[in-house]
């Protein structure tokens, strides 16, 4: 269909709504289901006319109908349609009771939709409406606790930082464990795509308000059709479509505030000087105080709260306008969004402008088509390094650490108001000891490090139904993501010292996907229903990056890449390509809607593998039995209580290619320079035998409904065996290899149980409470690594606290055991590899600091020898408890989420107990001071970076991570239909909400829901100098016109 035709159509419809004749009457009401729950998005149409509307989130509707209207036709997805005569009534309470609700409900599956009743796969659907108004840039950050089997860990309070997203556990060691995200049929880019200090989650291009539903595909029956990309699970995002009826305009907006919570309690200037000078006095040759007060401009001793120079209360707001509607032939959904979200870190923010345009059109009985298009511009801004993104834990500028460890007795400003700097460090003021940290204030004031994304996602499709049972469909989509990274670093202090530095680079990611399917559905002899799908898909992804890195400012005036600089270098050079070709099919069969069988097959060819090894086959089988349909069951005593019961099982294989280098099977020599001349050197050892990492997934489960679905539930057992696990087989460094080549060698499994229980305990005319609880238990275990590779360690920047080894879960915490503080000496007790207790005295001369408890000299603790695997870092169980209450026009949502059975390495605690010039937490005030003191804080000794775990990770800093969090509380009020009408609007809802309002945990850091290493597989459970999560509050408004 041409663009012009589409526009004409839309314009025509707008005209229609605008030129309504005077012969009208106002009609309003509410549509609910059998349990009295509101049905949003139900279509309410005047029979025989094009006039009508859809219901809002509370199931309410109101519109102006022609006076001649005789009857209303009400329908909704998953419910039967019903007809109600109008007569003289103007207010309607409509209940959609569908005896075969299950049969009608449709689930989005790979490459199509399927009646929920015939689905034999494990799929969880989350409605877009529950995430639409959450104050987060992307939907995934709000998914936590909403679905069994889905673990979401929001790593920290950096705006737009992608969450750790796992479906049924961590399923890879060296490849990605992030699920495949498919938006309207097009697999999209995921992860942090920023090359700057700001995080940029690629999924933030999708305005959460545009999402109709998220279908989370978990078992092989659901994911095997995605073949080599299905191993980590698949999330199908369906964006909103228009519905037949009068065009409906909605506005959603909110404004909110965000700030840090549960910050560490740090020492003030006086305490700082006391403790640090005590450390000096505790030296072998006691030293005089070097930490001395400095009077500020007001004459008072300087006592700086460095949090004031790192954090803020950020203000955010968001606005979405959507118009949707349609005629018999054409439906459309058209939306525009704007949001600006300030983070709790100074100058860290996210800004998005997006436009979406979805149209579907029936050309004739045989042919239909449509298109979806989304353009999004996102600006992710930062000034200082947050120190909280992967690889930044020990960054010199890491703001999280600076805000903790900078001495409170120095000020960011000299008394004359200028920046307090001394060379590339903060000025020490009256202290007589150098403070070698940076002053963050000039950095925050002058630096910027931004990533601006231009993201176009769209697809067009054409569908042909030559005969009733056959559907042919071809769908072509593009996903173009350009990321423009810009950074400027001031010459005053920091990364740009002393001459300034800047870079800019453009990273272009382009993908096209062409999918063609043919589907045949037919029921033979009334009871044999058959559905066959065959299809092909090609996915081509290319990326290119280039840019400029400049240093040595020619004048401090310049603050951008284009200004005056002396030195030029390259930045962000990249060139890549890959191609995936696939053929796939699915066969569904059911007998009498009782017995279900399904099989899928997919053959994938991927360009990263060597010639001859590119192809892989993936398949699944599944079956289901709808027990409740059996007469013997329905008529039994149990059948009267259990109104539905379906058993289900599946087995199949999927693969993982996410994270394989484009040329991983090739060996290369690459160019470099030596004294400005061309060099060539071995740069990549490829593995020509490289092939797919495959998962064998088993899923057994059942769903049930009790008391006419007053209580429903789903219980599933799963096991995911990953073998041929692709490992970057570690090479002994003496081999001098440039890389650890990928090899199909390891094995790992995840197995677990998922439980979802939903109920409506109270449902009266005015008051209703519906609740849903989910619980997932996941057991991860690595079974084999490569021969000669006893274990693999994963670093957190400069520190290694995680180990992956056979017979342990991945990412085990790997620390030196400690055994408290010796009350006799005040020294930290370590336990060495031999199991001997060794104490450490930093005041002794180097070489004689480690002694046994009897005082005899002991060998030094060496992390390489004495670190041992001690604690599990992957949550063993997690879930959510969601409650919705409504009383008349008020609604209340309370969502609790929880994770448990894991430990977190609180490396930040090592930083804030370090006895160099770094400030310490108030806990250090309970330090050991005299013989007999029983405490967990050793005697303070100037310069001691060993006793508290700065130099080497120690078990003292590992803490239980289990938590329950008050994730979301939202209180809403919907204007009564009559009031709305008076205001000339269809509906209006106001709400206040809060996120992350409270937490119950024994963890001592700001938040046990943390990841210093982002989505890393082998280095989870680490909190090293990372900012905590923010607490937010919003007020919002939704208006329908």
């Amino acid at each position: 269909m041409s663009m012009r035709k589409t526009l004409t159509l839309i314009f025509g419809m707008l005209l229609l709504t605008g030129t309504m004749l005077a012969q009208t009457k106002a009609i309003s009401g509410k549509v609910t289901d059998a349990q009295g729950a509101p049905i949003p998005n139900a279509s309410v149409l005047v029979k025989g006319a094009n006039t009508g509307t859809t219901t809002d989130a509370t199931g309410s509707f109101s519109f102006t109908a022609p006076a001649s209207a005789k009857a209303l036709v009400i329908s909704a997805v998953g419910y039967g349609s019903t007809e109600i005569s109008v007569g003289n009534k103007t207010v309607f309470d409509i209940s959609l009771k569908s005896s075969d609700k299950e049969l009608q409900e449709v689930v989005v599956v790979g490459y199509g939709t399927q009646k929920k009743s015939s689905v034999t796969a494990n799929i969880t659907t989350v409605k877009g409406a529950v995430l639409a108004d959450k104050p987060a840039p992307s939907f995934d950050a709000s998914l936590g606790g909403r679905a069994a089997g889905v673990q979401i860990t929001v790593p920290n309070g950096v705006v737009n930082n992608p969450p750790v997203f796992r479906i049924r556990g961590t399923n890879s060691i060296n490849l990605s464990s992030y699920p495949l995200i498919v938006i309207d049929g097009i697999p999209t880019f995921t992860g942090d795509v920023s090359g700057s200090l700001a995080a940029s989650n690629a999924l933030a291009s999708i305005n959460p308000a545009d999402i109709e539903s998220m279908d989370i595909l978990k078992d092989a029956a659901a994911t095997a059709i995605y073949g080599s990309r299905g191993a980590n699970g698949v999330v199908l995002i369906t964006t909103k479509k228009g519905k037949r009826g009068k065009a409906k305009v909605t506005y959603d907006g909110w404004a909110g505030w965000t700030k840090p919570t549960r910050l560490w309690d740090m020492m003030n200037a006086e305490e700082y000087m006391t403790v640090k000078n005590e450390g000096l006095a505790n030296l072998a040759i006691p030293a005089a105080p070097r930490y001395l007060p400095t009077p500020g401009p007001d004459g008072q001793t300087i006592n700086t709260d460095w949090y004031d120079y790192a954090y803020r209360t950020g203000f955010s707001h968001s606005h979405n306008v959507a118009i949707s509607g349609g005629s018999e032939a054409t439906t459309f959904y058209f939306s525009a969004g704007y949001t600006d979200q300030q983070g709790m870190i100074l100058k860290n923010s996210f800004n998005r402008k997006n436009i979406r345009f979805n149209v579907d059109h029936k050309i004739n009985k045989i042919l239909s088509g449509g298109m979806n298009a989304n353009y999004s511009n996102e600006l992710n801004k930062a000034a200082a390094n947050s120190g909280s993104l992967p690889g930044a834990s020990f960054a010199s500028a890491g703001l999280a650490r600076l805000a903790l460890t900078l001495p409170p007795n120095v000020s960011p400003y000299k008394n004359d108001g200028t920046y307090n700097t001394s060379g590339n460090a903060i000025g020490r003021m009256n202290n007589t000891e150098n403070i070698s940290f940076w002053n963050p204030v000039p950095i925050i004031d002058n630096n910027y490090s931004n990533a601006e994304n231009d993201h176009i996602q769209g697809n067009v499709y054409l569908q042909l139904k030559p005969i009733p049972d056959v559907t042919l469909r071809t769908n072509y989509g593009i996903d173009y993501l350009n990321v423009d990274n810009r950074q400027f670093a001031t010459p005053i202090i920091g990364d740009g010292f002393p001459t300034g530095a800047s870079f800019g680079n453009l990273q272009k990611n382009k993908r096209w996907v062409w999918t063609t399917t043919a589907q045949y559905d037919h029921t033979f002899f009334e009871k044999h229903a058959l559905s066959v799908l065959v299809g092909t898909e090609q996915q081509r992804t290319t990326n290119e990056g280039y840019g400029l890195s400049r240093s040595q400012l020619s004048d401090p005036f310049y603050t951008n890449l284009q200004g005056g600089w002396l030195l030029n270098n390259t930045s962000g050079l990249a060139l890549g390509e890959n191609y995936l070709w696939s053929g796939f099919s699915r066969l569904n069969y059911d007998f009498d809607r009782k017995y279900f069988l399904s099989g899928t097959f997919r053959r994938d060819g991927y360009s990263a593998f060597a010639d001859g090894l590119e192809y892989g086959n993936f398949y699944s089988f599944s079956g289901g039995w709808d027990v409740a349909q059996e007469k013997f069951f329905a008529n039994s005593a149990i059948g009267r209580v259990v109104n539905s019961l379906r058993l289900r099982g599946s087995y199949g294989t999927t693969g993982n290619i996410s994270g394989i280098g484009n040329f991983a099977s090739n060996s290369f020599y690459s160019a470099g320079t030596y004294n400005g001349q061309a060099t060539l050197a071995f740069s990549q050892a490829g593995n020509p035998d490289l092939t797919w990492e495959t998962s064998k997934k088993t899923d057994i489960g059942f769903t049930f409904g009790l008391f006419n679905d007053k209580i429903t539930g789903e219980i599933a057992y799963y096991k995911n065996d990953v073998d041929g696990l692709l490992l970057n087989v570690p090479m002994a460094p003496s081999t001098g290899m440039p890389n650890n080549p990928l090899t199909n060698i390891g094995a790992m499994y995840n197995k677990g149980i998922e439980v979802t229980l939903s109920a409506t305990p109270i449902s009266s005319k005015d008051f209703r409470w519906s609740t849903s609880f989910n619980y997932t238990y996941n057991d991860n275990k690595v079974t084999t690594l490569a021969p000669g590779v006893p274990f693999i360690t994963s670093a957190t920047s400069l520190e290694t606290v995680n180990i992956t080894m056979p017979n342990y879960p991945i990412s085990y915490l790997y620390v030196i055991p400690t055994a408290g503080v010796n009350p006799q000496t005040g020294q930290r007790i370590f336990v060495n590899a031999k199991g001997e207790k060794v104490q450490y005295n930093h005041a002794a001369a180097a070489g004689s600091r480690y002694t046994y408890l009897d005082g005899t000299l002991a060998p030094a603790i060496d992390a390489g020898k004495d670190q041992v695997p001690l604690y599990n870092s992957i949550p063993r169980f997690y879930g959510g408890f969601d409650n919705n209450f409504s009383y008349r026009n008020f609604d209340l949502n309370v969502l609790l989420t929880y994770q448990g059975g894991f430990y977190v390495y609180n490396g930040t605690q090592a930083s804030i107990r370090d006895q160099r010039f770094w400030n310490s937490e108030k806990a250090v005030l309970r330090r050991w001071q005299k013989v007999g003191d029983v405490t967990d804080i050793p005697r303070v000794v100037y310069g001691d970076n060993v006793s508290n775990g700065s130099a080497n990770p120690i078990s003292e800093n590992v803490q239980k991570g289990d938590f329950i969090k008050l994730r979301n509380v939202a209180l809403g009020y919907t204007l009564p239909a009559k009031a709305s009408q008076k205001l000339g609007i269809a509906s209006a809802r106001f709400y206040v909400s809060g996120q992350n309002l409270g937490i119950i945990t024994k963890y001592k850091g700001p938040d046990p829901e943390v990841s210093s290493n982002g989505n890393g597989n082998g280095n989870q459970g680490v909190d090293r100098n990372t900012v905590g999560n923010a607490i937010t509050g919003t007020i919002g408004l939704t208006v329908g016109f």
Partner: protein, 486 residues
């Protein structure tokens, strides 16, 4: 029936068109890196590979900066002003653990140089020689020079000195074949003596095959020639305490009488003024071998010598000041000595000024200077002569007198052999301050690393029996290659 035909036709049509995949797209070739099979296809690529081996050893983790820093940090002349463990604090205070970055990165980068050399030598044998023609042996000479130098760096850092058990102690895994894939992790170490044998074989081969003369001043300073290999051999033999061999080798490039210069090959000689050597990128003939840097190929963050040695007032980080109780406290090192001009003060602390070009710190990192060969020879001569060796004194005097016109040594200046040896050792300490020589001297002579302190923080003397006397082997190696341990 017609319907079914239509169905079939449509289905098969769609299938035919869409199942065809783009075969060439499924097997792409890289346009940004060379297929390994083509790396020896042209003379330029072979030449590029030789430079690639230099580029590897020039890594900031090795000769680009840190190898020198570790050696100087361990000795007594520096005071660590920064407790940050990232900036060479642990070597300074002798608390290096096997999983610390210092041993891990030095070990892996030196071996990465070795593997590049091995892959190159293998490839030359497998066909590269034919392409390189007349230049083939010279290229191989460079590769073997760099391999020998890498093993020397490793054996002087991670193994016991040669004198301890006469080379019988645990040495290094000796890798002599290029490795391009998995399966080679396990290799037992050979003895220290066997490592030295290999180093000398490589350097002998290099001496035979390297170019005798190099016209271009930069090339003769930044790539090896015959005299470079000989110069390095004098250091290697000195480390083995094989003084006669030091004399044999040194005599090849040190004339019998002053003015001392190389009689053959590149005319290496003492520069007129030492300060001329530290102006950034000196290609003076004294500078036998240096690591060069360019704007686009800088030493890298926290590897640059100037970043460590220059105070913040001079754009550095002032991580190491000069210890007042170290060599700068030597009263016989006169104020008139030009080498004192390579020291300045800031906030009442002394700082080394040899590397002073400012960010991005492109000063050459000197590896071997002619004055070292002279003092190597002087020491070997002195040790071989129970009296006061005249030529040794002459060589010592040439180095001292070049910088300090007020001091002239004669044989009368020394009562005996021991006094002369002390003077030569002290001369080395003065001459090569900040050039990574001092702790090599301590180590090869079995001396204690002297005590030192920083702000009340005391590092006691480390005797040669201490485990901290050498670096522990990288924990990555001991984990993946169980045949070697600390």
């Amino acid at each position: 029936m017609k319907k079914y035909m239509l169905k079939l036709a449509l289905l098969s049509g769609v299938t035919m068109v869409l199942f065809s995949c783009q075969k060439s797209t499924l097997n792409p070739t890289s346009t940004t890196a060379l297929d390994d099979k083509t790396a020896f296809a042209t003379l330029d690529r072979i030449d590029g590979q030789v430079k690639g081996i230099y580029a590897a050893i020039k890594s900031g983790q090795v000769l680009g900066g840190r190898y020198f820093l570790y050696n100087d940090a361990r000795a007594e002349n520096l005071v660590s002003e920064d407790p940050n463990r990232v900036t060479v604090r642990a070597p300074w205070e002798f608390s290096v653990g096997s999983s610390d970055d210092e041993p891990r990165n030095l070990w892996s980068n030196a071996y990465s140089t070795i593997n590049r050399a091995n892959l190159f030598l293998d490839g030359m044998e497998a066909g590269g020689n034919a392409v390189a023609g007349a230049k083939a042996t010279e290229f191989q000479g460079e590769a073997r020079f760099l391999r020998g130098l890498s093993y020397y760096i490793l054996v002087t850092t991670f193994a016991r000195p040669y004198w301890d058990g006469n080379g019988s102690k645990r040495g290094l895994p000796l890798r002599l074949k290029g490795i391009k894939g998995p399966g080679f992790n396990e290799l037992a170490p050979v003895t220290v003596a066997e490592v030295y044998t290999q180093i000398l074989q490589d350097l002998d081969f290099a001496e035979t095959n390297l170019a005798a003369t190099v016209a271009d001043a930069t090339a003769r300073t930044t790539r090896a020639h015959k005299n470079t290999a000989i110069a390095l051999k004098t250091r290697v033999y000195l480390s083995m305490r094989d003084y006669p061999k030091v004399i044999t080798e040194a005599n090849k490039i040190v004339s019998t009488t002053a003015p001392f210069k190389a009689p053959s090959g590149v005319a290496n000689a003492l520069a007129a003024n030492i300060t001329n050597l530290f102006t950034g990128t000196s290609t003076d003939l004294e500078n036998i071998f240096s690591m060069p840097f360019t704007v686009n190929d800088a030493p890298g963050t926290q590897n640059q010598l100037g970043h460590y040695y220059r105070p913040s007032s001079a754009g550095g980080q002032g991580i190491f000041s000069l210890n007042a109780n170290g060599v700068i406290g030597d009263t016989k090192w006169t104020k008139a000595d030009d080498r004192r001009k390579l020291i300045d003060t800031a906030s009442s602390k002394s700082y080394l000024k040899k590397f002073n070009s400012g960010s991005p710190w492109l000063d050459f990192a000197p590896v071997i200077r002619y004055s070292e060969v002279m003092l190597n020879l002087a020491e070997a001569l002195a040790r071989g002569n129970a009296g006061v060796d005249a030529r040794a004194v002459e060589l010592l005097n040439a180095v001292r007198n070049r910088s300090d016109k007020t001091t002239t040594y004669t044989t009368a200046s020394f009562a005996n052999q021991a006094e002369l040896l002390v003077a030569i050792l002290q001369e080395r300490n003065i001459e090569f301050l900040g050039e990574g020589i001092r702790s090599l001297d301590i180590w090869r002579l079995g001396l204690d690393f002297p005590t030192k302190s920083s702000g009340g923080f005391i590092v006691t003397a480390i005797p040669s029996t201490s485990p901290a006397y050498i670096f522990p082997i990288s924990s990555d190696e001991t984990r993946l290659n169980p045949l070697i341990s600390n």
